[in-house]
C-alpha cells in the first residue's frame, strides 16, 4: 500500500481525473473531499462489506433449507402492515 502524508488543505490526485483533498483533521476523524467523474462510484468500504456479508447470509447453511422451501410460496406469506421506512 502506498502511504502519503498530507496536511489539512492539501490534496492529491488519483490518475488524471480524481482529486482527493484533506478538508479537516480532528483527533480520530478526517474529512475528505473527493472530486471524481460521475461514473466513479464512491462507497464507504464497510457498507460494501456489509452488503457482501448480507448476500452470503441469504442462503447460509442454517437458513438454506428454509430458503429453498420459501421458493415454493405461491402467495404473499407476509403481512402487509409494514411499510418500508
Amino acid at each position: 500500500m502506498l502511504v502519503l502524508t498530507r496536511r489539512e488543505g492539501e490534496s492529491f490526485k488519483l490518475g488524471d481525473d480524481i482529486e482527493i483533498e484533506i478538508l479537516d483533521i480532528k483527533p480520530g476523524v478526517v474529512r475528505v473531499g473527493i472530486q471524481a467523474p460521475r461514473s466513479v462510484r464512491v462507497l464507504r468500504s464497510e457498507l460494501v462489506e456489509a452488503v457482501a456479508a448480507n448476500n452470503q447470509e441469504s442462503l447460509s447453511d442454517e437458513a438454506g433449507t428454509d430458503a429453498v422451501a420459501a421458493m415454493e410460496f405461491t402467495s404473499n406469506p407476509i403481512q402487509r402492515n409494514s411499510r418500508a421506512r
Partner: protein, 137 residues
C-alpha cells in the same frame, strides 16, 4: 425466448459483468422461480450452484419502497429507460422463518431483455440493509 420452463419452474439467465459483493468471481447466474406466482426466486451462480442468493421483487413485500437508482449505475448495465428495469432485493430468512429481512439498501437491478445485472448500493438514501417483515403466523 431464452428462458426455460419445466413443471412451471422458470430459469432466466443473468450476467453480472462486475460481480456481486460476496460473490465477486461469479459472472453467470440462473434466476430460478419455482412457479409463476412464487414470491421468492433463487439467484444461483453457475460456477457454484450449491450457493446462491434468495431474492424477491420488493413491491408486494415492501410497499412504499422507492429507491432512487442513479443513472450512472444503470448505464453500466445498458439500461436507458424504466421499461428496461427488473428489480430484486436480497432476502434473508431467520431459521424459524418468522421474520424475513429485505435488503432495501442494495437492490439488484436486472436489464429485462439484455439480462445484465448489478447490485446497486444506495448510500445516504436511508433504506435499511435489513428491513424486517413479519411472516404471517
Amino acid at each position: 425466448m431464452n428462458d426455460t420452463m419445466l413443471n412451471g419452474r422458470t430459469t432466466l439467465p443473468v450476467r453480472t459483468p462486475e460481480g456481486i459483493p460476496g460473490f465477486d468471481e461469479s459472472r453467470e447466474w440462473a434466476l430460478e422461480r419455482s412457479h409463476p406466482e412464487a414470491v421468492f426466486c433463487l439467484l444461483r451462480p453457475q460456477d457454484a450452484p450449491d450457493r446462491g442468493i434468495l431474492v424477491a421483487e420488493p413491491w408486494q413485500l415492501a410497499p412504499g419502497y422507492e429507491p432512487d437508482l442513479p443513472e450512472a449505475e444503470l448505464e453500466r448495465i445498458s439500461i436507458t429507460g424504466p421499461e428496461d428495469v427488473e428489480l430484486y432485493v436480497v432476502v434473508t430468512l431467520t431459521p424459524e422463518r418468522t421474520t424475513v429481512f429485505l435488503n432495501l439498501a442494495a437492490p439488484i437491478v436486472v436489464h429485462r431483455t439484455e439480462r445484465l445485472a448489478r447490485q446497486v448500493i444506495l448510500d445516504r438514501q436511508g433504506w435499511p440493509l435489513r428491513h424486517a417483515v413479519e411472516a404471517r403466523g
